[in-house]
């Protein structure tokens, strides 16, 4: 299975980033072979709709599951429509992407069944 992990660097040893839409990057890893690739998150500096854009991005890159710290309503709806499963990794302690991958493989990450918080949309438009 291809798993996307939100990270703040470009390596498997980079720290996990608990934000989804505003994560610095995504590491997309094949959980069977361990093969991985990292991508800058194109939604990082979006003025709005970061959750939607990041969701489309990971779906387009073939992710079947995502591990992040939180999913807003728009990200949840988009990932859900794309049949991408969402898993919640703990953001209260520093972990690396590799550690999150191990937790996922061990079945320790709970599945997000709904958006974890309200939308951030708004700002000054």
């Amino acid at each position: 299975m291809k798993l996307a992990i939100s990270i703040s660097g470009k390596k498997l040893s980079s720290p996990f980033d608990a934000r989804f839409g505003r994560a610095a990057a995504f590491c997309i890893v094949d959980t069977e072979t361990g093969k991985w690739e990292a991508f800058d998150n194109p939604a990082l500096s979006a003025s709005g709709g970061a959750g939607v854009q990041a969701s489309q991005f990971v779906a387009e890159h073939g992710a079947e599951a995502v591990a992040s710290g939180a999913f807003g309503p728009n990200a949840f709806d988009t990932l859900d429509a794309a049949n991408v499963e969402m898993y919640l990794a703990p953001g209260n302690k520093a972990h690396t992407a590799a550690e999150v991958l191990e937790m996922f493989k061990a079945g320790q990450l709970p599945k997000a069944e709904a958006a974890t918080h309200e939308g951030h949309h708004g700002g000054s438009h």
């Binding site: 489309q56 988009t78 794309a82 939308g119 949309h121």
Partner: protein, 284 residues
């Protein structure tokens, strides 16, 4: 002629100045007053119009016909606001992210998108006892975008033949303020002589300069703070048109819904002179 009152900082006295200016102007000319602070319109509390016209406004948002859509993704690609997403065999629309630009409808090769009004607020209009033609926008609670309502308010009854229009801007220096100021003939920048007043005055002064609109300054609560606003106005060649002192009786009158000129009629000549100056400046 369109005169806009703006300030940057909230609570400096935009509405206080705008409503009394409208009162003076209405003694000679036909006046239209637009309360563009659609998040919290309050000029009506002072001008007391009878509101008998109402119109729902918003933006046109896309609706995708699932039968016709081929999921090509062109709509999602063109959307600058990520308000439309195509994932697999689904096209999702996020109304609260949509700015109503219509690009998705334009680029859809299958004509699968139709547009529908997403109501964001109402316009209300009527007349005041002084026969001021009054209108305000009222944004629905929870709406994130004020600009579409302000845009519609400024277009409402466009053939209005009023000689003087007064547009009362929202506080701040972001999109809703720019939308309000755009197209005005003169900007009345209401400030207070404090570091906060000055900081925001500078931002709004930059906006009116960028829009190439002549401006003048009203210093409200004169006597508090420092002289930095005065120094800035002098450096920037911004004329100070009126100074209204910090006085408890004025604050009390405003708090009870009275107009400044009702509470302090001695400022009437200052307002008359200010209006004359603005008219002369715009007509020059």
């Amino acid at each position: 002629m369109q005169i806009v009152t703006a300030s940057g900082k909230g609570g400096t006295g935009k509405t206080t100045v705008a409503t009394s200016l409208a009162l003076i102007a209405a003694e000679q000319d036909s006046v239209r007053f637009l309360d563009c602070d659609v998040e919290a319109p309050n000029a009506g509390l002072f001008l007391e119009p009878v509101l008998d016209a109402r119109k729902e406004v918003g933006i046109l948002i896309p609706q995708v016909d699932e039968e016709t859509c081929t999921y090509c993704g062109k709509c999602a690609e063109v959307c600058q606001f990520h308000a439309i997403a195509v994932v697999g065999k689904k096209t999702l629309v996020f109304p609260e992210l949509c700015h109503g630009c219509g690009s998705c409808t334009l680029v859809c090769p299958e004509n699968a998108i139709t547009e529908h009004l997403n109501v964001m607020g109402v316009l209300e209009g009527g007349s005041t006892p002084e026969q001021i033609d009054f209108a305000q926008g009222v944004m629905n609670v929870g709406e994130p975008m004020a600009v579409p309502i302000i845009r519609e308010l400024k277009k409402w009854i466009p053939d209005s033949s009023s000689e003087i229009e007064i547009w009362d801007a929202p506080p701040g220096a972001s999109c809703p303020v720019v939308e309000t100021i755009r197209g005005a003939d003169f900007a009345l920048l209401v400030t207070e002589p404090t570091p906060f007043g000055l900081h925001d005055l500078k931002q709004v002064a930059e906006i009116v300069k960028e829009l190439d609109i002549p401006a003048g300054v009203v210093i409200n609560r004169d006597g508090i703070g420092d002289s930095a606003v005065e120094a800035y106005c002098e450096d920037s060649a911004l004329p100070i048109l009126i100074r209204i002192p910090m006085e408890r009786r004025i604050a009390e009158a405003i708090a009870s819904g009275k107009l400044l000129l009702e509470a302090a009629p001695e400022y009437r000549p200052d307002f008359e002179a200010m209006l004359k100056t603005i008219v002369a400046e715009v007509s020059a």
